[in-house]
């Protein structure tokens, strides 16, 4: 057997090369970075596949649940909203189906990702025995699966609803894409905080579902900002979720609707929370292994 596993990290010196490094010329900084990147990609892919197998089984069409699950939510909610009149749309610019699709797909991503990441790490503890598997990889791979599932569901439903003539295809697909990416970035960074909290306190796992429920008014799912009184508009626009959903709806329905959002605000908040998340997550490994 010819492969040689190389651990690039030593405990206190990051740049030390192990194993068979003496046989080839290396540019330490660049090669270390590229090698680390390769390892990280490999690890995240392995974790991603593991996650699919654990959750959906490796036989039959189990993996279809990946996107069927969020799709069922969105379809169910579209039907309920359409029939019950629970949600009131002002003007005729958006169909109920389009409003529910854009809103609920976003909500499912928010709720699923944060809930799953909050309970993520401790049960994967055994995998941290492989030094190349890091806590951020566990979190990222799981988030990636959640993101892939919700994105697939949104994409498929967009075409299905279009086929059923419930909605038009998005007016500005690029804007939808950017909005969805920025929105998912925020959800992921909040998920990192949830992962940290879930690991640090036992109470958090119990209250996270309630907390997610209480964020509902701040998700922008049930209303457009423009339909609200000015005071409430100000509050809503502080929520990155609202900014993301508004932007995405503008991408779907164009200027016929009045969307309020700020891309720069969303990016700044995302950067800040991502940084905070990364700092907090650095300590989880220690907590998990050392107890």
């Amino acid at each position: 057997m010819t492969f040689s596993p190389i651990n690039l990290e030593t405990s206190s010196e990051k740049n030390h090369n192990s194993g068979h490094a003496e046989t080839k010329q290396i540019n330490p900084l660049r090669d270390t970075f590229i090698e680390s990147l390769k390892i990280q990609t490999r690890v995240i892919w392995a974790l991603f596949l593991r996650e699919i197998i654990t959750r959906y089984g490796r036989h039959g069409l189990g993996f279809l649940w990946l996107f069927l699950e969020p799709m069922m939510f969105s379809v169910g909610v579209t039907i309920i909203w359409s029939v019950s009149g629970m949600v009131h749309i002002r003007g005729n610019s958006i169909s109920m189906a389009g409003f529910a699709l854009t809103g609920y797909s976003s909500l499912v991503l928010w709720r699923n990702m944060v809930n799953r990441l909050a309970n993520n790490t401790s049960y994967s503890k055994g995998l941290l025995y492989h030094p190349n598997v890091r806590v951020i990889d566990l979190i990222f791979s799981r988030a990636l699966l959640e993101f892939a599932a919700c994105s697939l569901s949104l994409l498929l439903l967009t075409f299905v609803f279009w086929g059923l003539e419930l909605i038009e295809l998005p007016v500005d697909p690029l804007k939808v894409f950017v909005a969805w990416a920025l929105y998912a970035w925020f959800v992921f960074s909040a998920g990192m905080l949830a992962a940290y909290m879930g690991e640090s306190s036992e109470i958090f796992e119990r209250v996270v579902h309630v907390m997610m429920y209480l964020t509902l008014p701040l998700t922008g799912v049930f209303t457009m900002v423009a339909w609200m009184p000015p005071v409430i508009q100000k509050i809503l626009l502080l929520s990155p979720l609202v900014n993301g959903v508004e932007m995405m709806r503008e991408g779907y329905f164009g200027m016929s609707i009045h969307a309020e959002y700020s891309v720069s605000y969303l990016i700044i908040v995302n950067l800040f929370i991502t940084l905070l998340g990364l700092i907090l997550i650095r300590n989880i490994r220690r907590q998990l292994i050392d107890g």
Partner: protein, 216 residues
């Protein structure tokens, strides 16, 4: 060569900080078989985890000049919800090893048969040890970190391990930690005793064993 320099490790407990390892120095050469004897709770597993890069010391550093396996303990490195086969797959992906080469070896060495396709949470501790051991052997690390697990294997499995570690792969370094001396006496050429966070070096395994017995 693996070099541990002044490794110190504390744990937080409800009664304040406890020092588990105090200024540990240890060198492991290529092919060397090192045994570390210690009672339960003496810090053996912590030391092995630090060597394997699973956790970091509070002070000191490790210099790694060869590839090191993950610490082979009972639950380590495999996941209960996955089948043995999926665990193999996962580990191969993480270490960029070729599943087509690893699988036949694991199959033969672990003798798990059709259990390979059952979730590992249904395995006995002996079966888990066999799987864990076989995979890491197939991936071919320069140094194997073994935390007690050999003790649970049956005679046949121990024989296969001996054959593999002492005959076929003589150049492989081994760090074997255990609370019992039999396996260490049989496999290792250097022995240490870990007691109250301090590592004591002995010229030969019998001397280490005698000292260790006096502690019990």
């Amino acid at each position: 060569m693996i070099k541990l320099e002044n490794i110190t490790k504390h744990y937080k407990t409800s009664r304040g900080q406890r020092t588990v390892l105090r200024n540990i120095n240890l060198n492991i050469r290529r092919g060397e078989k090192v045994g570390i004897l210690g009672r339960n709770g003496s810090g053996k597993s912590t030391l092995v985890r630090i060597m394997g890069g699973v956790t970091v010391p509070d002070e000191g550093k490790i210099i790694k000049g060869m590839s090191i396996s993950w610490p082979l303990a009972f639950e380590s490195g495999i996941q209960g919800s996955l089948t043995g086969f999926d665990n193999i797959n996962f580990i191969c992906r993480v270490y960029a090893a070729d599943i087509d080469e690893v699988l036949p070896f694991v199959n033969e060495f672990s003798e798990l048969g059709h259990y390979l396709y059952e979730p590992t949470r249904s395995y006995s501790s002996g079966m888990k040890a066999r799987l864990n051991f076989a995979i890491s052997m197939a991936i071919d690390f320069d140094c194997m970190l073994i935390d007690e697990v050999l003790a649970v294997g049956d005679a046949g499995f121990k024989d296969r391990c001996r054959e593999e570690l002492l005959v076929k792969r003589k150049d492989k370094a081994i760090v074997l930690v255990s609370h019992e001396a039999d396996m260490i006496r049989e496999i290792c050429d250097t022995a240490y005793v870990l007691n109250e966070g301090t590592l004591l070096n002995f010229s030969d395994v019998n001397a280490a064993y005698q000292y260790y017995s006096s502690l019990l």
